[in-house]
Chain length 753, copies 2
């Protein structure tokens, strides 16, 4: 890509500001929080996937010495069955509250029912066994298609389906049916020479972050509640917590700790309200930690799904029509990422006729949470394998086919908006030109697959302030959780504007009381939007520093220019003051300088990726071994290329795990059989080759430096690419994910029959 | 005073934001800081008041199991004998460094010599006894006048006297001789009908804060140093620490804990560099705490002093001339508050001819530190008792005399500047009108005294930012240590501008990395200057919120007005939006709103106080009992009257302690004999009556709400007022402070002879 701008800091690879703290173990995570008088909380969880709660008797638990309080949903404010606005979205308050502590029903194994605070975690655990819950056990429904049937057990007796934007009187497990439509698919399929229609299913998988959930709460007698925890969005916690606890956001201060991974899974509330009410009851701070089984059974996995895709193309290799029927499992309460899946499924392509129907369906599994490009991986698995079949039928190279059909600037997206300048075409071309794709793959039972993916990215709101130190360094106060190196990527953007080195900008992630509002670290928004705020705050600093330089020279500010960290006086070329020199004189020229910016940028650039995978299938066991993997992605402008590469590699690896091994195994009664990292098989470095990356830089015109979000789209293509490669290796098309050895073997054996 | 402005929040008495945390013990003070791997430091201190260090052998201490490091001054960067600029002031780097850890000499008993870090405080203490220091003991000099003699032992062999702004070649214990001069005092005294000249001495006294000094340091392998501690100025610590450690301020983050009193004594460095180098050597965080004896013997007391005052007045009761010779003990290194004492000694009066000579003198006592209106109490003791004698000679009521001679707007101060609008005259009139002064005092051995005092106050630099929450409450981020309720007094000023309640503004005291530069909480500047910044930041919020309201109404911002928390559309009187309603729509109108301001306000208003005291002297023991006490003060505009009253009462009580009991008792060898609160006698509530307060409000034109600093001036008059009252009670004039029972008795007996 042509690079027209010269940067000093952007595009370099400085050591991250929080690096030493993290490698030496000094960084403070949520579980490290300690304070005087701390009590320990434990949560009693439902052993049943579906049951009515007749009664809860906590008296024996309360009588245990060392137990200070027991709480149930009765200790939360009455959870009204009404929709409330939370930031950009709407949510049912009863569902939000009942997922924290079950109301009249439990809806999944692991659903919290009660919690205990005691002087030690062991005592708290002992006390859980003394709580007696009288359950009326009900039959569970675990599969999305079964749940959609009229005969299915009903999870929520008041859930009326919202269909195409209208409330209906139909009570079912289907929360919503939405539709995107453009052109006329029937006419399109008539015009097509080749039409393929296939069904796909995907299993429930978990984000699998290393650090379990945690929360410590102190509810002060003055009504002020402080929460310490690892979260992707301190302000998001504050905003959700207020209605659940029936208090104002002003009464809540959330102090974010470092975070050991989130991937979307650390946005929803789990332990915070429980720790809070335990603290209110006891007058002590209360810390609650999950173990790994609790993380699997009670926090958000990504939805299992059923997807039917029908696509048609003409002989000249042009897509004529595409249709999808997508049903996503929301878990116990409505809210799967069905909308996002629908927004992504066909979006890499310019297709004249599209019809997408999406269903959000409750099942007796934990309430789903976002997981890296939520819903898009399931969708791409379906669409991209159908595209692969079309190419095969048409005798076209799959990348050439994509070049011909790629969405570009001006293409209308199926959900309505028009693409701005995007780099999808460029990723396909770069994949075609890559050493990987140009190197022939030979041998028995090996195959190469490709697939593309799209993620729309979000902008939302960010705030940054920058304070100038006397030595000309600056501190940068942000409110975005740093998961993937965003301290560095935000600080570097400010450094570029200020003419400083990355190390001279010291980024601090502040709490909800100490920085302006910031939306969650998610949606691939942080380097884009908080970086945007950092640029604007730095420009605000430059404006003020220019005035100071003008004051020192006794001239008017317009006579002073600033470039590369140096102020010049336009009428006296020999007069110069460095940023540091002006900084040293702030006290004498009007006091300290603080720059600040709050932004809600709209120019979000969508992200596209094209992945190439070579693999081998063992025909005796069905085991798939990844031989070579290349992730190509339009990354806009890469601020810190190492961290962009890290996002691409991490996303690809999560996608590989999802494709080959990861899934929740459920018993008939809805009990997860593999709720540990021993039995829930995630890939390790020993399972994988190096993930090669190709960064395609098509600057996003909606950001001063061209940034577009990079964190999510790399998880979108892998499942489809692997399915396509398996077909090339052994001639079977897998349409269920994961493509674990047993399933691959079954398909091979079925083919042989 | 006429009150022309109506305020909603200012002048009310809301509960302080940090109140519950402080009364419940939840507030985190420096000593509460805990972290993994914490080591404990202890400091070895000189047993001698004056000695040369021949050698230090730390080998036995290092060999003790559990001892991780021992440091001496050799572990600090070489302390060059040169003057460096620190903010507004200059300081000798060698003196700054050697006071932390002694170089070639120890200059006072308690002077730090070495320090140990060990796995427990007990081990660290044990290890101190194993350090062998070879001292060459030298004779000490403990009194300022003795130290000024040519024959006195020299503390600093390179200290050349700076006289009237000029460097001299004279090596002595006199660091500086400065002079303020106006008119011609000789001529003035000739015109006077009554001239009085007297000599005064004051003992060394300590600030006596409850909380001992503390510091915890973590010097990260990446070069970043973090300090947690109780300090009056986190940025001031950062700024002093950088040159002592030879690193940049950007490498230092100071996280302020709550503070258990400071009164000026928690500004200088003591433990921070020691904890830092112990951390650097060990790779662990290191916490160092002082005990009470260390606080007395090694941290800044206020200077002992010798003052000679000569004043003359004409028969009609007008002051004709005033002269002072003032010599202040700086302690082991130069830097007594002599300049401040000189600025205050005659400033309540309009005197045509003034000559003041001041001397800063090193003696073998701990380096002095600021103590509430530093130097002014000593000065007022001298001048105000001479005024009392003049009044007696002239047969004038002492308050009437002050009315006649009071400095007012336009009067030139002895140090040069001219008074802006001040309220001294009003305090004298209010004292005259008070119930206390109008109530006759009768009985044997009782007396009433009055005295006035002045403190100039400072402005310096402050930064504040304000973030708007979705519910219309705001958080206010400041960097000023809250000692006397300044969270409330700053938040209330923002609340007034925003039309919010005090409780709807949540103030946060942030660390040096998270807020713009803020000078120390001292000089009575915080409610004035940080309050000023809060007002400006709030106005910045209003500007932005006005734009949002305009956007909602689709009009131009100038068409929107804001008053009392409500936005109005000038062309549609019925259209209104509250601050909260606009706040709820920030996400839809351009993102979050953050206001910020950095200020260096110049319009500091000087503070004046006039105190009245009734007391009884026991003629058999010399014990003085305070019967009634009224503090009258021009407080500008009282933001939170309770905290203003608290400052006045606290200052008066400290002055009473200073007047009657507090002093360092030294042995001939310079060892403090009473380094504990059992033997260093501070007044308790049982020793005192209620301190009545009269708030005189003369708004300071240099502040939007008329604020002037109130915290320091109340300590200025008490010593003089009590001396004057003792004279009225038993007819003896005390000219040494404290006027302890023994000294009062000695004067009574001498009188009787």
């Amino acid at each position: 890509m042509a690079e027209t701008t010269t940067y000093q800091v952007i595009g370099t690879r400085p050591i991250r500001h929080d690096g030493v703290d993290k490698v030496t173990g000094r960084a403070i995570y949520g579980a490290d929080v300690q304070m005087a008088g701390l009590l320990h909380g434990k949560v009693l969880r439902s052993p049943h996937a579906h049951a009515r709660i007749r009664s809860i008797d906590v008296s024996r638990a309360l009588a245990l010495p060392g137990v200070k309080a027991v709480v149930t949903s009765a200790d939360l404010p009455p959870a009204e069955d009404r929709t409330i606005q939370l930031g950009e979205g709407a949510v049912n308050l009863k569902y939000l509250s009942n997922n924290i502590l079950a109301g009249d029903k439990v809806l999944y194994k692991g659903h919290p029912v009660a919690a205990v605070a005691a002087t030690s975690p062991h005592l708290a655990e002992e006390a859980l066994a003394l709580i007696h819950v009288d359950y009326e056990v009900l039959p569970p429904v675990l599969d999305v298609r079964e749940a959609m049937q009229d005969s299915a057990p009903l999870l929520l007796e008041n859930l009326k389906t919202k269909s195409l934007g209208q409330e209906t009187d139909k009570v079912s497990n289907v929360a919503t049916h939405t539709q995107f439509k453009s052109g006329d698919v029937d006419k399109g399929f008539q015009q097509a020479d080749v039409v393929i229609e296939r069904e796909f299913t995907t299993a429930t998988v978990h984000q699998g972050y290393i650090e379990p959930h945690n929360a410590t709460a102190l509810w002060n007698p003055d009504g002020q509640l402080t929460i310490w925890e690892s979260t992707q969005g301190a302000f998001t916690v504050q905003r959700q917590l207020a209605p659940v606890l029936g208090i104002s956001v002003a009464q809540i201060r959330v102090i974010p700790a470092e975070i050991g991974g989130g991937f979307g899974g650390k946005i929803n509330l789990y332990l915070e309200p429980i720790a809070a009410v335990l603290s209110k009851k006891t007058g002590h701070p209360v810390k609650v930690l999950m173990n790994r089984a609790e993380v699997f059974e009670s926090t958000g996995p990504t939805p299992g799904s059923y997807i039917r895709v029908k696509m048609g193309a003409t002989k000249d290799g042009r897509l004529a029509a595409a249709q999808a029927y997508m049903a996503y499992e929301a878990g116990g309460y409505p809210g799967s990422p069905i909308g996002a899946g629908m927004m992504c499924i066909f979006t890499p392509y310019d297709i004249p006729n599209v019809l997408i129907d999406g269903f959000d369906v409750v099942v007796n599994k934990p309430k789903t949470a976002p997981y890296r490009a939520p819903g898009a991986t399931n969708a791409a698995f379906a669409a991209e394998t159908v595209v692969d079949e079309l190419c095969e039928k048409l005798g076209l190279d799959p990348l050439q086919f994509r070049l011909r059909n790629a969405a570009t600037e001006g293409t209308r997206r199926p959900d309505g908006p028009t693409h701005p300048r995007i780099g999808y075409l460029e990723t396909v071309q770069a994949a075609l030109d890559s050493d990987h794709y140009r190197t022939p793959l030979e041998g028995p039972n090996v195959g190469r697959g490709v697939a593309s993916g799209y993620w729309f990215n979000v902008g939302l709101q960010s705030s940054v302030s920058i304070n100038v130190n006397a030595d000309g360094s600056v501190t940068l106060v942000e409110g975005s959780t740093d998961i993937g190196g965003t301290r560095a990527s935000i600080a570097m953007q400010a450094a570029e504007v200020l003419g400083l080195k990355a190390e001279e900008v010291r980024p601090i992630v502040a709490d909800t009381a100490s920085v302006g509002y910031n939306d969650v670290t998610g949606g691939s928004r942080t380097t884009f939007a908080s970086g945007y705020a950092a640029i604007e705050a730095a420009r605000d600093v430059v404006r003020q520093m220019t005035e100071r330089a003008a004051r020192i020279w006794k001239v008017e500010p317009p006579e002073v220019t600033f470039a590369n960290g140096v102020f010049h006086h336009t009428n006296a070329a020999d007069q110069r003051l460095t940023f540091k020199e002006v900084a040293a004189q702030l006290g004498r020229t009007g006091g300290p300088v603080t720059g600040r910016a709050t932004v809600a940028p709209r120019g979000v650039g969508g992200a596209f990726a094209t992945h190439i995978v070579d693999l081998h299938v063992d025909p005796e066991t069905g085991k798939v071994t990844i031989l070579r993997y290349t992730a190509v992605q339009d990354v806009g402008k890469a601020i810190h290329p190492s961290y962009v590469e890290g996002q691409m590699q991490g996303g690809a690896v999560q996608g590989i795990g999802w494709a080959l091994n990861e899934e929740y195994f459920y018993s008939n009664t809805g009990v997860m059989a593999n709720a540990s990292f021993l039995d829930y098989r995630m890939p390790t470095s020993l399972d994988l080759p190096m993930i090669d990356t190709i960064l395609v830089e098509v600057p996003n015109p909606g950001h001063p430096f061209g940034v577009r979000g990079v964190g999510e789209v790399p998880i979108v293509p892998p499942v489809a690419a692997i399915a396509n490669a398996i077909y090339k290796a052994v001639g079977v098309r897998l349409r269920h994910s994961p493509m674990s050895p047993g399933r691959v073997m079954a398909e091979i054996l079925a083919q042989g029959k």
